[in-house]
């Protein structure tokens, strides 16, 4: 059953998957475009190079978000188009079908993750690093995998959510902004911003989006 679901999902999402794999492979290689022979380079040049590597690193969580978005929504796109007739015709409970879709999506997600891993490895092997600077291809790939998984789970759940759940989510988001607007209109001194508090909760550990934050450089001290 998994094979069939995976095949159907691959046929529907192969273009985004290939595109994401290409981007995943290319991004780490961008890091080494500004030079590779750094073992005896002047300190200033190493500093600039590290800075450039960090700038490229910022794009990687963006790629994770894109991968999660495309594959998460793409996982349900054929079902939405076919009014879920295919799913309803299958002799499996709904929860099992959701699990199969999720597993198939995660399997497809592994392709851009692996591509990024290969790209990071190639970039690491192509550069001679000075003392004190290290490459982190494995950590970067693992972190990318986790970030992509979170994003995929979010968009996967949103995509299949009921209208009531969508309205509730939208309501919570609007409520947060409304609370901020009310606090601002009351001019309460030292009142904390609700939006920034919620954002901090989500993006600081153990917040679910904390994985997207932090450092993403392939080469670092």
């Amino acid at each position: 059953m998994f094979k069939q679901v995976l095949k159907a999902q691959w046929l529907a999402a192969r273009l985004p998957v290939v595109l994401l794999a290409l981007l995943g492979f290319a991004l780490p290689l961008l890091t080494v475009t500004s030079g590779s022979g750094l073992a005896n380079a002047p300190v200033e040049r190493v500093g600039q190079w590290l800075f450039a590597a960090q700038q490229v690193g910022v794009l990687i969580p963006g790629l994770a978000l894109l991968a999660g978005l495309l594959l998460g929504i793409g996982a349900w796109a054929p079902d939405h188009a076919g009014k879920h007739v295919y799913a309803l015709a299958l002799p499996v409970p709904r929860s099992m079908f959701v699990l199969l879709r999720f597993a198939a999506g995660v399997t497809l997600l592994a392709i851009p993750v692996a591509a990024l891993g290969v790209g990071a490895l190639v970039a690491t092997l192509s550069v001679s690093l000075p003392d004190g600077v290290h490459a982190y291809p494995l950590q970067l790939t693992a972190r990318f995998a986790m970030a992509a998984l979170v994003c995929f789970a979010i968009f996967f759940a949103i995509s299949i959510a009921t209208k009531r759940a969508a309205v509730a989510t939208l309501g919570v988001i609007c409520g947060v902004f409304l609370a901020d607007a009310i606090l601002a209109s009351l001019s309460i001194k030292d009142a904390a911003s609700v939006t920034s508090t919620v954002f901090n909760l989500l993006t600081n550990w153990p917040g679910p989006l904390s994985i997207l934050m932090g450092r993403w450089a392939l080469f670092d001290v």
Binding site: G57, G132, R143, V150, A153, A161, T162, R215, V221
Partner: protein, 366 residues
């Protein structure tokens, strides 16, 4: 006839002339008196106005007390309520953020602006006479430097003056207050990357022992031989106006290694190769990574070398401390490097599982 006319004229002149003169003199005297009286009145008026102005000036300068947390500051009245409070609030914020000065020490002080008058009576009236008074140059103009920085810096300097000699010779006068104000982390990186000494270059490369030497945190019997080579001292000296320096400096530049060491040991070169920005960054890193309490403990510690005190307060080894500082500095205060630990994975798996559960339990075709 002619004689009669002459006689009459003479009589007239004799009788009428003096009277007219007398009349003119009397009028003049009255005028002078009036003028003198007027002058006196004006003088009195001016004196009165002067004394009023002085009084007003005194009132302008009369000390007013503002407090924020443990910070108490006396500023001239002319500074105004809002600005005075802003100075006190700002000083408290700076000190809280710095975290190095114990609150009990701050509470034992009162900072008085030089320009304020009658502060002693204000202190007595407010029951603050027992506090240690420190003077600060706070401009009387409202809004000028009113963010409390000057007060905070003065309090920090008073605290540094009380530290033990090992600390006083290592920490800057403002501890790391300048690091917060000037955001000079870039300056610290530049100092490290400048490559003036081998210790600095190796520290940049990641060797912990070199970082310790560069920061001068170990208690070396001879810091100059442990942290510098004669060539490095020569390089530092040769960038100065050698003709104005002493003989040992000139001999150093001419190639004498002994002279270089001699010149350095007489105070010509700092025993700490790192600059002030780097030392400030160490204190700031301790504050950020281990909290204000750790920094306060370190500064209150008086046993062992500076590095041992810092490491003890942070609860880690000396090498770990300098490695942590280096990564903190070079990454702009961020996480040391990309991480993918179980700690990172836990929220991801938990949240992913929850979303999957939610998706399985409710859906559009249910």
């Amino acid at each position: 006839m002619c004689r009669i006319a002459v006689a009459l004229f003479t009589l007239g002149a004799t009788v009428v002339g003096p009277r007219a003169e007398a009349q003119g003199a009397a009028a003049g005297t009255a005028r002078v008196r009036a003028l003198a009286a007027r002058a006196e009145s004006l003088e009195a008026k001016i004196a009165k106005q002067d004394s009023l102005a002085k009084l007003r000036r005194y009132e302008d300068l009369r000390a007013r007390r503002f407090s924020a947390g443990d910070v108490t500051v006396l500023v001239p009245g002319v500074v105004g309520e809002a600005t005075g409070q802003r100075i006190a609030d700002g000083a408290r914020r700076y000190l809280d953020s710095l975290g190095a000065v114990p609150p009990s020490f701050v509470a034992s002080l009162v900072t008085v602006a030089y320009a304020s008058a009658g502060w002693d009576s204000v202190l007595r009236a407010d029951g603050l006479a027992a506090r240690t008074r420190i003077m600060a140059e706070i401009p009387a103009q409202p809004d000028s430097l009113a963010d409390g920085w000057i007060v905070a810096a003065r309090i920090v300097r008073a605290y540094v003056e009380r530290l033990d000699p090992a600390w006083r010779s290592w920490v800057p006068q403002d501890l790391s207050l300048g690091f917060m104000k000037g955001r000079d982390d870039a300056a610290a990186v530049r100092e490290l990357a400048a490559g003036d000494t081998r210790a600095g270059t190796e520290c940049l490369g990641g060797r912990a022992a070199a970082c310790r030497a560069w920061l001068g945190v170990d208690r070396d019997a001879n810091p100059y031989t442990a942290r510098y080579t004669p060539a490095e001292i020569r390089s530092i000296v040769s960038r100065r106006m050698v003709e104005y320096l002493d003989v040992s400096a000139q001999q150093c530049v001419r190639g004498s290694d002994d002279a270089c060491l001699r010149y350095a040991q007489t105070g010509g070169v700092s025993p700490v190769p790192a600059g002030l920005a780097s030392v400030r960054s160490v204190l700031r890193a301790i504050r950020v990574l281990h909290g204000a309490e750790a920094l306060r403990h370190a500064l209150a510690d008086t046993s062992g070398a500076v590095g041992e005190r810092l490491a003890r307060a942070a609860g880690i080894g000396e090498d770990s401390l300098v490695t942590e500082w280096r990564a903190w500095l070079l990454t702009g205060g961020g996480r040391p490097r990309v991480s993918a630990s179980a700690r990172d994975a836990m929220p991801v798996l938990l949240f992913g599982g929850l979303l999957l559960l939610a998706a399985a339990r409710s859906g559009r075709w249910r």
